[in-house]
Amino acid sequence: MDFLIEPLGYDFMLRGLTGGLLAATACAILSAFVVWRGMSFMGDALAHSVLPGIVFAYWAGFSLLWGALGAAVLVVAGIGWASRKEGLREDAAIGVVFAGFFALGILMLSKVATAADLGHILFGNILGVSKQDLIFMAIVTVFVVLATVLTFKELVAASFDPSHARAIGLSPSLVRFILLGLLALTTVVALRTVGVVLVLALLVTPGAPASMVSKRLWGIMALSVSLAFLSTILGFYASYYADVPSGPAIVLALTLFFLFFSGIGQIQKHRRQRRS
């Protein structure tokens, strides 16, 4: 028991764990939509493109999360604008925006940050969550969860049958923008714990194994959140005891869950085939 309780005796550890769990909740709630709507690339692009905002905030000396939030808003608007143009496929448009922003971010970073800070920004530092960060993360997470619950029927209707949505006056592009906005917010929350490079894992990986086990959207969401929670806790302790970065530890735990559930999925499929 001491093994589990000991790290929680420090304030910064407790903040780290709480922050990690908040990020896990926000990401995992949206994970089902990211997986089922094929928005993985979009999630990755968003996470990477906020880098210049973070570096700017670091340089100017205000909270990195505010910098990330500002950049995320710009990126969502930019993608929305680029995908309205004809002649360029959306994924190509996203790719261009994403690579450009990320390169700019790295360039800025190499001018202003030390190697240690670079590591924390790219790969997360769960133990560096400040009290202000925590309040910010809590507010954003509550907002993301509330918004998802309140617009749930619209998110599902427009994902399942966009032409029906359009026919009842519910604009699928508006719904897509809502999802993009929520994704951007979530990315910002998860930056502290898993870092820019691995946010995608927290957005995609919980939903994938959950979809193999459950076929109900609520079931998938509940299972995603549970998996993300477990992985965050595992990653947190690994980070404390083995002195490894928190982001990769959390993501690796998630990946192991994914492998485990794909195994189960394969066995179930095999059994069904044998029965029929």
Binding site: A32, W36, E86, L150, T151, K153, E154, V156, A157, S159, F160, D161, P162, S163, H164, R166, A167, I168, G169, L170, S171, L174, S211, S214, K215, R216, L217, I220
Partner: protein
């Protein structure tokens, strides 16, 4: 009063805009006046100078080859595309202003069948047009959903995933969603594709019941064999209207040759027997 409220609503806010406009006296369920349309970057018109009126109680088949503009016409009626020329009105009003009165069964290919939703969830989507943002289905919505499930004989499938069902069962779900919508004008885009014979019969039976209640129905189809039995009117479309009238009168070798660009074998004419 509701008239004024509806007028000020923009298209983007139409969802859940609770306008219940009465039909203007003497106006048809659907009127398409001189509608032409062309998609961006295309050489030819998708539709040119289409005129048609459908009255309450009519059951109209929209017939034509692939690319004849059947789906385009349906999209224009729903306000999903804006016509280059001409106008569309539903019960005397612009369709986008009164969405709760028009329901559509889209083509199967436009739907993500693997998305994890149950049959009941999909049929409930037919009620969303009456609910709008943030409102949850009430008792009356649940009753409408149950009635629709029963009418399409899929109560037993209510908790199943739509992706697990057969093509015919999925089409029943789509029609149940339209029934739950409780619209006065129903547009069905190729509902007979990939459908078994019992589902086809159930679909026609349901459409007959609806038109007997005074609703107007338009069905796009490739199947010439069903026209004379199940429709009161057939509309041949190939970018423009080629023929319009009772199926027995318009279903001639000349019409078919004009619409499809080929002639049937002289002995093959099952609909004339």
């Amino acid at each position: 009063m509701s008239e004024v409220r509806c007028e000020s609503r923009r298209r983007a806010l139409a969802y859940g805009g609770r306008c219940h406009l009465a039909s203007l006296a003497g106006e048809p369920a659907l009127e398409v006046k001189g509608v032409s349309h062309r998609y961006p970057a295309m050489q030819d018109d998708a539709l040119s100078a289409v005129n048609l009126k459908i009255h309450p109680g009519e059951r109209v088949a929209l017939v034509g080859p692939n690319g004849a503009g059947k789906s385009t016409l349906i999209r224009l009626i729903l306000g999903m595309e804006t016509p280059l020329a001409g106008s569309v009105s539903v019960f005397g009003h612009s369709a986008s202003r009164c969405l709760h009165r028009v329901a559509v069964v889209p083509q199967r290919s436009s739907i993500d069948w693997h998305f994890p939703v149950t049959v009941r969830q999909v049929v409930t989507m037919g009620r969303y047009v009456h609910l709008g943002w943030f409102r949850r289905p009430k008792a009356e919505d649940k009753e409408a959903v149950d009635a629709a499930l029963e009418a399409m004989e899929i109560q037993d499938l209510a908790e199943r995933q739509v992706g697990e069902l057969s093509g015919g069962q999925q089409q029943r779900v789509m029609l149940a969603r339209t029934l739950a919508h409780d619209a006065d004008l129903m547009l069905l885009d190729e509902p007979l594709n990939h459908v078994d014979i019992s589902t086809q019969e159930l679909i026609f039976h349901t459409l007959e019941r609806l038109t007997a209640q005074g609703k107007a129905v338009m069905v796009s189809t490739h199947d010439l064999g069903v026209l004379t039995v199940h429709f009161s009117r057939a509309l041949f479309l190939d970018k423009r209207i080629i023929a319009d009238g009772p199926p027995r009168e318009v279903l001639t070798p000349e019409t078919i040759a004009e619409a499809y660009g080929f002639e049937f074998h002289k002995d093959y004419a099952p609909w004339t027997s």
